[in-house]
């Protein structure tokens, strides 16, 4: 009997030794919870923004560790480790939430600033548009003024040319006295008139001319026609000599046609012996004489 009793105690103490001695089995969930907690504890954002959840995580972790050391059931140890792990996750989300809320506040005030800037930019743009409209109006006014001045200048130049305004445009008449009798050569007076015309054409390069020659009815019509043409040509030649392009000058010899006065009197005949220079409009166009005249 004694032997058995001794044996009993031996077994008991062995069991107790086995139970107490040796490290407890590793618990992976507890390990994970511990790591997570330590990581969170070192994160200043979590420590400041979610102290309550972090504290709860710590308590659950300690409970889990205590149970583990006391070799409580795995389910119990796991339970508290799980609570700790989830509390750490909650602490993380809470920290993120707080950070985001701070960010929202900052971003909102930034947005306000940008909005003010946008309105300012809008105002500046409107101002700029107004200024541009003003300066455009001013520019147009100046251009109109210039055009007027040019027109006045032209009028003045035309006056100097002693040209006449007619339905066909400006017409400069070179009288009979500017040519030698029965010849096409220009006299010095005619040269001066051509000089003025050339000057005018240089100043107004868009204006072309048509030179038309006319005679009285003395002498054969064919001859007169040729003479009128030669006289017109010599005016063209004179203009070319002054540097006016050939292409800007048209020539017509009408002879006895289109008299401006009666051919029955000497003074009338003198008026009919003439060369007319028709100055084009600003686009360079000149109406042709119509035969019905």
């Amino acid at each position: 009997m004694r032997f058995f009793k001794l044996l009993m105690y031996c077994f008991l103490s062995v069991f107790i030794l086995i139970g107490c001695g040796g490290p407890p089995e590793d618990n992976p969930l507890l390990k994970e919870a511990k790591n997570n907690f330590q990581e969170a504890e070192n994160d200043s954002a979590i420590v400041t923004n979610a102290p309550v959840a972090l504290k709860e995580a710590e308590e659950a972790l300690q409970e889990s560790e205590r149970l583990w050391e006391e070799k409580a059931g795995k389910e119990l140890v796991d339970h508290h480790a799980y609570i700790s792990k989830q509390k750490v996750a909650i602490a993380r989300e809470t920290a993120k939430l707080n950070a985001a809320q701070d960010e929202v506040e900052r971003a909102e005030s930034q947005r306000q600033k940008v909005l003010i800037k946008a309105r300012k930019a809008e105002a500046i743009a409107a101002e700029k548009r107004a200024e541009e409209a003003l300066s455009q109006a001013e520019k147009e006014r100046r251009e109109a003024q210039k055009a007027r001045e040019r027109a006045e200048e032209l009028a003045e130049r035309v006056n100097k040319l002693e040209a006449e305004r007619t339905e066909r445009g400006l017409v400069l008449t070179l009288g009979d006295v500017l040519f030698d009798f029965d010849k096409a050569t220009l006299k010095s007076g005619g040269e001066r008139a051509v000089e003025k015309l050339a000057q005018f054409m240089k100043e107004y390069p868009n204006r072309n001319v048509m030179i038309e020659g006319f005679t009285d009815t003395v002498g054969p019509a064919d001859y007169n026609k040729q003479l009128s043409r030669r006289r017109a040509n010599s005016v063209r030649q004179a203009l070319q000599n002054k540097g006016i392009s050939f292409s800007r000058i048209q020539v017509r010899g009408y002879g006895e046609r289109y008299p401006v006065a009666s051919n029955n009197t000497e003074s009338g005949r003198q008026q009919n012996r003439r060369v007319e220079v028709i100055i084009s409009d600003a686009e360079g166009n000149i109406d042709e004489r119509t035969t019905s005249d």
């Binding site: 389910e75 339970h79 993120k96 985001a100 971003a107 930019a121 500046i124 743009a125």
Partner: protein, 130 residues
């Protein structure tokens, strides 16, 4: 050979200790975890209301699953386990709620930043355009 009765007689203290321990364990599990289950349900509802289904679907489903398991354990009269399961479900729901709120706030930040970016572009375009 020694009989079992004889063994018991010689270890009265040990037997008593085991008996007391058994009683204590069974006493602790006699009460159903009604309070915990109710609280867990409330937290799940709260998380649902802020939109956890959209922003933290895994967490909220996990919470619901655990709540269901807790109820099953309760019906099996495993009250202690049921209570712990309910508590785990509760922290899952809490996490779902925290995550939802955090995601929403982060979305708000993103949208604000986007709006600021667009505003700035608009300003630049106006300044360039004029």
């Amino acid at each position: 050979m020694i009989s079992f009765n004889r063994l018991l007689k010689n270890n009265v203290i040990l037997v008593l200790y085991v008996g007391i321990a058994l009683v204590l364990v069974s006493c602790a599990s006699t009460k159903p975890p009604t309070q915990e289950l109710a609280r867990t349900e409330a937290v799940i509802n709260q998380a649902d209301q802020v939109g956890a289904e959209e922003y933290a679907p895994l967490e909220i489903r996990e919470a619901r699953k655990k709540l269901q398991q807790a109820r099953e354990l309760e019906s099996e009269e495993k009250y202690e386990e049921a209570k712990r399961m309910a508590i785990r479900a509760e922290v899952d729901a809490e996490l779902a709620e925290a995550k939802t709120l955090s995601e929403k706030a982060q979305n708000a930040v993103k949208q604000l930043r986007e709006s600021i970016k667009l505003l700035k572009e608009e300003i630049r375009r106006k300044q360039r355009g004029q």
